[in-house]
Every structure is written in C-alpha cells, then in structure tokens.
Subunit: 220 residues, 2 copies
DNA sequence: ATTACTAGCGTACGAGTAA
DNA sequence: TTTACTCGTACGCTAGTAA
C-alpha cells in the first residue's frame, strides 16, 4: 500500500523533475519540501527505494534520484482519478414537493423566443407549462448554490415590443424523465424550482400537488 | 496547512460524491475506506470541519457531509499540479562526448525519402551528416529507456530498389541549437547518440572530437 | 558536505465507552 | 445504530552522531 505520505514525497520529487530524469538532490532538501526532518526524509526515501517506487544512485554528497515506473504509475493513477472526479462531479439532488403554479410559467415559456432558445440549449421543445417544486428547507442552500453556477444561459431578448429577461437552465432528471430547471435571473427565490420538460411531467409521472419528488440536477 | 492525510479523506469523500452534493455516510465507513479506525476518522473529519474544508449536518445516525469550497479547491489544485507535471514531464538530459562518425549517417539521411520524412516529422531539413555522441556510461540506461518510448516514427520505405529501415526520432536541444536524436529501429546500440540538425552542429558549436556535451531530449 | 543509524520522546492511534 | 470523549500505548518523529 502507498500511503498518502509516500505520495507526497513522490509528488515533490516529480515537481523537481524526477518524473522523467534523475535529479541531484539531498534528503535534507526533500525533508524541507515536505516539512519533515532530514532523518525522516532519508528513512522514507530508503523505504520507497526498497519498495521499487524510486531508483537512485548515491554520490559522496547528495544523490541522484528519480521515480521508477511504479512510482510514476502512482501519480498517474491519482491524476486519472482526480480528472474523473471533476469530470463527473456533475449532479446534485434536490428534494421537494409538487405545488400548484401560478400559471405564469406557461405564458412565458411558450413565447417563441424562449422556445427557440430552449431547443438550442437543452435540445428539446418544452411542454408549455412548468412543474413547480417547493424545495425542502434543508436543500434550499443548494438552490442558492445552483444560482451561483454557470448553467446554460438564455440571454434576454426583445420581442413583441417588450423585453424578456435572461434565464439560466440546468438539465435535470425527474423520475427518469429528461427535464430542466429554469431560473429567471431576476428572481431571487430559492424555495421553488420551476421544471420544464418535453412532456407534461405532472401527467407523465402522475404527480398530484403535495407529491414528494427528488430532482437530479446536472451541473454543466 | 493541509497534510497528505487530510487530502486522502477529502479524496475519498469526493469519490463518494461529496464534491458536488451532501452524501449520507458514517465515520466508520470513511475510516474503513482510508484504513483507520472509526475514532480516528471521526476526529479527522471534525478537524476538517473546524478548518472549513468540510460542511456537514448530523442526524441521530450517520451524517450528511460534503466538501466546502476550500476543500474542493485543495483537490482542484492537486489536479492542476498533476496535469502540469505530466504535461511537462518531457525532457531527459543525456551527457556524453563527441566522437568521430563512420560517415555512414551522411549517406542515409541524405536519401530523399528520409529527408522528406524528417521535414514532416521534425519540421526541418537536416544538414547531411550526423554528430555522434558517445553516451557517458551512467546515462546509457536512459538511452535504453528512450528506445522504449514512442518518439516520432519514420516508417520503413522502399526506394532506389532497396528498403530503408524505420527510424525513431526525438526532438532535442544541444547547446541551444534545435536538433534531434535518431535511432534506426534495427540497431541496438545504447552507447552512441546520432544527432541531426538543420545546421552543422559540429561547426556551429565548435565541437572537436572528445568535447563534452549535454543533450536535452524532448519526450514527445 | 552528505546518509542513515540509534535512542528517546511526543503525538496520534485505537479500545473502551457515554450519550 | 451512531458520534466522539478519555486514556494508555505504540509508532514515527527528531536529535545526536558515526561513517
């Protein structure tokens, strides 16, 4: 097993160039970089050499040291894992219950300007109506956080002689149905999610007012 | 300071999904994942919460836990650092001394087939002659390693009624002059580097036989 | 200068357990 | 079930030092 302290040494050596060639350094230097004594650094290096993660050549002063193939692999594995983590750090679950909307949503989203934008940005033409989900109090901070994120933006536009405000969208999944949460930039609500979908969510999922739902938001 | 053990906890939590949302887990579970006891995991989590790297909500059983912004930054910094390491893990220095060649190189590299290939692969038309560098014994294993690497390949081709063998090239830098090391795939020498360059290296750098040189090979 | 051994100490671990 | 406290122990640290 490679413990985190071992990885730290491998990383510091890699930063000095020991990934692809021998570097000329000393146990004291390495100790300083990782915040331990010369003695501890020496012991740990020795251990890594014994286990095949480092190769080195000694000289009367200092030493030539580089990562052996298994040492490089340790770091590469970390890189791959972190890449994957950030690549798939993509969803957030928000719970709430279905509530009756004001009927406003229907008017707005069916404006041709929005319809066209939804199609471009989300890849579907929404059913003309929103499903409103009252967010469970504990999850409201998540909604606030969502609003801080990029999301997919529909810019404000002018049509029919008036201005339609910018809207931020997040793709989502509700009970296995493709949908999206939409946030008019002007609003500051954090207790209601407005969901749109190519189908009528309420009917498709047979949702009555008060039904508990769990929305999986994709962060992209 | 975030020590490597702290990072390990953040990573394990991130793998469970705590990068972008709360996860429902227990100190025992986390302890198991990082190979420490429930007590130690509990103490370390508490410490990370105190220092602002984690946020959590307790329940009578288990807890909801996620990385706070500073915790995410710790991992992101690691990712960026590792990416940079592997992106620039690109050179290897090989030392040796100039030796007289057999004059063979000149014949081969000036064949039109090779000339054209060098131009495509290295971006320059080489001076018709090679500079031979006898590799210092300690660096010979590096040469062997180079031959294991991809490099830039010139495939074998037929011309003038005979076959010209495949050659592997590595871009290099010798005394600030752009050049390349070439390895006929058939040869198994590891004690001599054959260098080519758009200019006559020997003349440009005023190198007599026996001159000590240091070749910086780019690994790409 | 270095590396790396030995000794002694301090810290962080896990067992036991309360809430 | 959990979390997280106290406490005794042991592991890994640093200091001192030889080569």
């Amino acid at each position: 097993m490679v413990d985190p302290e071992d990885k730290e040494i491998l990383r510091q050596l890699a930063k000095l160039g020991a990934l692809s060639d021998y570097i000329y350094t000393s146990s004291g230097e390495i100790g300083r970089r990782i915040g331990v004594s010369q003695q501890t650094a020496s012991r740990r290096i020795l251990d890594l050499v014994d286990r095949g993660f480092l190769t080195r050549r000694m000289t009367p002063r200092k030493q030539f040291i580089r990562l052996a193939a298994p040492g490089v692999e340790v770091l590469r594995k970390d890189l791959v894992e972190l890449k994957a983590l950030f690549a798939t750090a993509e969803h957030m679950t928000i719970r709430g219950r279905v509530v009756a909307g004001l009927g406003e949503g229907q008017y707005y989203i069916s404006r041709p300007g929005y319809m066209k934008a939804f199609n471009e940005i989300l890849g579907f033409e929404p059913f003309p109506g929103t499903l409103n989900v009252e967010v469970e109090p504990l999850d409201r901070e998540k909604v606030a956080e969502l609003k801080e994120r990029e999301g997919r933006l529909i810019k404000e536009f002018v049509s029919e002689g008036r201005t339609f405000g910018a809207v931020k969208c997040f793709r989502a999944d509700l009970g296995g149905v493709e949908c999206a949460a939409i946030f008019p930039l002007r609003s500051h609500h954090t207790n209601v999610l407005e969901m749109i979908s190519p189908v009528q969510l309420r009917k498709k999922l047979d949702l009555a007012d008060g039904a508990d739902v769990s929305v999986r938001i994709l962060l992209d």
